[in-house]
């Protein structure tokens, strides 16, 4: 019986750790204090998981790839789903439609619609190919990015994509979006 006394802590009044608000259904209580159980991630964990790439290119990895190298990667690992030279079928087309977005018959592809080239790198690296995601090397992702951009006429055949050049690519539809996040 005395055990209970020994292990009992102190109950904290709910009001001290929670914000209360009255609503038509009753009182909704949102706790405002937790037990601080988060651990400190290792530097290796942070490096391995921090893969999202914003338009600035911050966090782009080392490595590079050319259009010619990208064509080989594409033919081996992408063409089955996206068709020869990004023409599409059975999966989405990656090429074409530039200038069609305001035509009433928009064709939305990487070339015609995507506002940032960094998004293509980010997405391919994390999600493609769908039957074996996260298996491409950074060099392969840079290369296939160069190839698809070249198919769209956005970069020349001599282009080399890397952490410095990729964020410099200006996509045709860069200014095609209206920010509604504050509405």
């Amino acid at each position: 019986m005395f055990m209970h006394k020994k292990i009992a802590g102190s109950l904290i009044a709910a009001a001290l750790v929670a914000a209360c608000a009255s609503t038509p259904e009753g009182t909704v209580t949102t706790p405002s204090r937790g037990p601080s159980l988060g651990a400190t991630p290792s530097a290796a964990m942070l490096a391995a998981m921090d893969t999202s790439i914003p338009p600035s290119g911050a966090g782009l990895p080392a490595g590079s790839g050319t259009v010619a190298q990208g064509a080989k990667v594409y033919d081996a690992k992408c063409q089955t789903c996206h068709g020869p030279k990004g023409a599409g079928k059975p999966a989405d087309p990656l090429v074409g439609g530039i200038g069609s977005i305001a035509s009433g018959k928009p064709m939305r592809t990487v070339g015609s619609y995507w506002p940032y080239a960094t998004t293509f790198f980010d997405y391919v690296r994390r999600a493609m190919p769908t039957n074996a995601p996260q298996t491409l090397s950074n060099d392969e992702v840079y290369a296939v990015t160069a190839y698809v951009l070249n198919l769209n006429g956005i970069v020349p055949e001599s282009a080399v994509m890397n952490a410095q050049t990729l964020p410099q690519v200006k996509m045709p539809n860069r200014d095609g979006f209206i920010d509604y996040s504050r509405n």
Binding site: A18, P35, S52, I53, R108, Y116, T118, A127, I178, S181
Partner: protein, 434 residues
Amino acid sequence: MSKKPSPQAIAAASETRVLPTDAPRDTRRRRFLTQSASVAGTLATAGVAANAAAQEVPAWMKTPGTPMRAYGTPSSHEKAVQRPSASGYATVSPGTGSSRTPHQSLEGTITPSGLHFERHHNGVPDIDPAKHELLIHGLVNRPLVFNLAALSRYPMVSRNHFVECAGNSSPNAGPKPPQITAGGIHGLASTSEWTGVPLSLLLNEAGIAPGAQWIVAEGADAAAMTRSVPLTKCMDDAMIALYQNGERVRPEQGYPMRLLLPGWEGNMNVKWLRRIKVTDGPTHTKDETSKYTDLQPDGKARQFTFELGVKSVITFPSFGHKLDRRGLYEITGIAWSGAGRIAKVEISADGGKSWQDAPLQGPIYAKSFTRFRLPWEWNGAAAVLQSRATDEKGNVQPTRAAFTSQYVAGMNYHNHYIQTWGVNADGSISNVYA
């Protein structure tokens, strides 16, 4: 009077509702929706005739039933209540697609967990909860990593909220109304009681650093789904959901943890959540640029249209149901808004020429399904049924014409316009545009 369903209703119970054979319990407080004054005096008197079989003791009363079982499932007679599914990439990526809540077969406001809609971008991962972790890093004072055991020790909240895919109702974006069920059209929306840890609690422990404005959230699926979310939403009502309708979140809904952003487009409610990076701006991921952006006729697309519009749909009667006789029916459906509580639902039986308020069934929760009901005397003539919801912020559900005029033809995101059901003289129901 007994409440036994008619034999016809039993035969069709899997798809059509069991029709009540007596009047609603509380008719005094309700006003009836009638198509015209001429229906007075035609209250259905056709009660259900005594069923010959009912005079014998049913077989299931004359033998012991099955014993207890560790986890229950619906009646074997309800097997037809299913989520229809579709994949646009079936040959190359069968796990990329969706399945839809069959609203036409359901009642109340909570979606059974096994019928919650699915939208996956490369299948459902089989995650070992002992190996799954959530990392919070970026513009924070202290990066932190939590395992499920740690998160499960945090103070939690339980709230009823809908989740709706931004592509819900897209079948109605086509030029001709598809003849499919309410769930087939609007089934990418479901409501659960979600229980989890307020995200603000974890972000406060990590400490928000100067310059922080957004986060990017990442899932542990084979698409490594990522979406950017303004920090203000994260510090408001966002939750790391660990439980759905009282049990651990289902695999299809993000087991062992998902981000829940009440009222915001489903895709942002990242399932299988493994990482939150606090950032100074949006990351412009694939699903917030190339997808889920709303293209206008002028070639500009609205981006970051997160809050889902006020919406309602009549679930009975709807396509697939059949009114088998004239008389009293209860029109019912669900309404919801990403902006807050539903304040009003009006119903029209004449294609929007006249409207009548439908009583709302309480309690009415913010950003959650609200059930509405209105008795209706069907006189056997063709009718055009619509519901129109208004939320507590004064937002009113638009007509199809008003909504679609803002966008290019076929724009199939964030559709929340009025659904119209045509009641035909033979009692069948059609999806119509009005």
